[in-house]
């Protein structure tokens, strides 16, 4: 059965959003080891800023599952779309080399706690935000290492697969 490219893209983006949510749930028993960064980065390299649709679905599912609270707003509403935008911004070097992707993903993992702390700054003040960030440093380091290893192991295998099966294959990436 033939389907229109736009429909296939819509379904792929929706499935990507759902997969992000499933990945988060499956790996949540391992503190700060997650496949969400990996998939957002690779998806953005394949689908461009259209990945924001998948991220929006993921963020909405997280909110429905865990509650639309301050953590949801500061972390999910801001940091994950930010990763998508940053990936798009640096897409040329990220597309060229998997080690660059691994370093980029690791830096995002390392800065995740700092991002939360900065977003909480207006609510808890400098000391509160600084204490929160410092207390979470061991978790940020695990996040960094997890992101680096996952991308190093899977980035080079998944990216060509995703590109080959993308509804945008052989079309210019918007």
């Amino acid at each position: 059965m033939r389907t229109r490219p736009q429909t296939r893209l819509l379904v792929t983006l929706a499935l990507t959003g759902t997969l992000l949510f499933v990945l988060q749930i499956v790996l949540q028993s391992l503190p700060n080891v997650e496949g969400v960064s990996l998939l957002i980065i690779l998806s953005t390299l394949v689908f461009g800023l259209k990945t924001l649709y998948s991220v929006t679905l993921f963020v909405a599912l997280e909110g429905l599952f865990y509650g639309f609270d301050l953590w949801w707003f500061s972390g999910y509403c801001v940091l994950w779309p930010l990763l998508c935008l940053l990936t798009h911004w640096f897409r040329k070097p990220l597309m060229a080399n998997n080690l660059t992707r691994a370093v980029f993903s690791a830096v995002f993992g390392l800065c995740f706690g700092l991002g939360y702390a900065l977003l909480r700054l207006p609510l808890v003040g400098f000391y509160g935000a600084f204490s929160y960030w410092v207390a979470g440093i061991p978790f940020d380091l695990v996040h960094m290492a997890g992101n680096f290893v996952l991308m190093l192991l899977l980035g080079n295998r998944l990216l060509p697969l995703m590109k080959a099966h993308s509804p945008l294959a052989n079309k210019s990436n918007p």
């Binding site: 609270d69 660059t100 370093v103 808890v124 929160y132 410092v134």
Partner: protein
């Protein structure tokens, strides 16, 4: 050339990680051994003071103090222990309730097992609603 740059970036990441670990260890709250006298006060969701007592303890962290005095119930997660009940009052997670900890009026930035028990300190546990 690109790989050389990436290797430098990995090296820089390792150095930054080591430096951050140093910051963590230097700023980590230190526990103190020996006898201490502290005050524990508990407020329920309605804001009523349901417990206020001076306690003599050898516990080094707030988690150990609350456990040894049978004041709190805990749940263990991958991120460590967190308080689920105090003086028999359960936090209803479905209603987004949680136990807020403050020390001498200042909000705690770490969990109960990282909070050192300091002689003369006042530990306030308040049942809050909404994350």
């Amino acid at each position: 050339m690109n790989n050389k740059k990436n290797l430098y970036a990995v090296l820089a990441l390792v150095l930054v990680a080591a430096a951050l670990m140093g910051v963590y260890w230097l700023t980590k709250p230190k526990t103190q051994a020996g006898a201490k006298t502290v005050t524990v006060t508990v407020f329920d969701a309605a804001g009523s003071n349901v417990f206020n007592q001076e306690l003599n303890t050898n516990a080094e962290t707030l988690g150990d103090l609350l456990e040894s005095e049978n004041l709190a119930g805990f749940q263990t997660s991958t991120y460590g222990r967190f308080i689920v009940s105090v003086t028999g009052i359960e936090a209803d997670s479905a209603a987004q309730q949680w136990w807020h900890i403050s020390i001498d009026g200042a909000e705690a930035a770490v969990g109960c097992d990282e909070l050192p028990v300091t002689d003369g300190a006042v530990y306030t546990l308040t049942l809050k609603t909404g994350y």
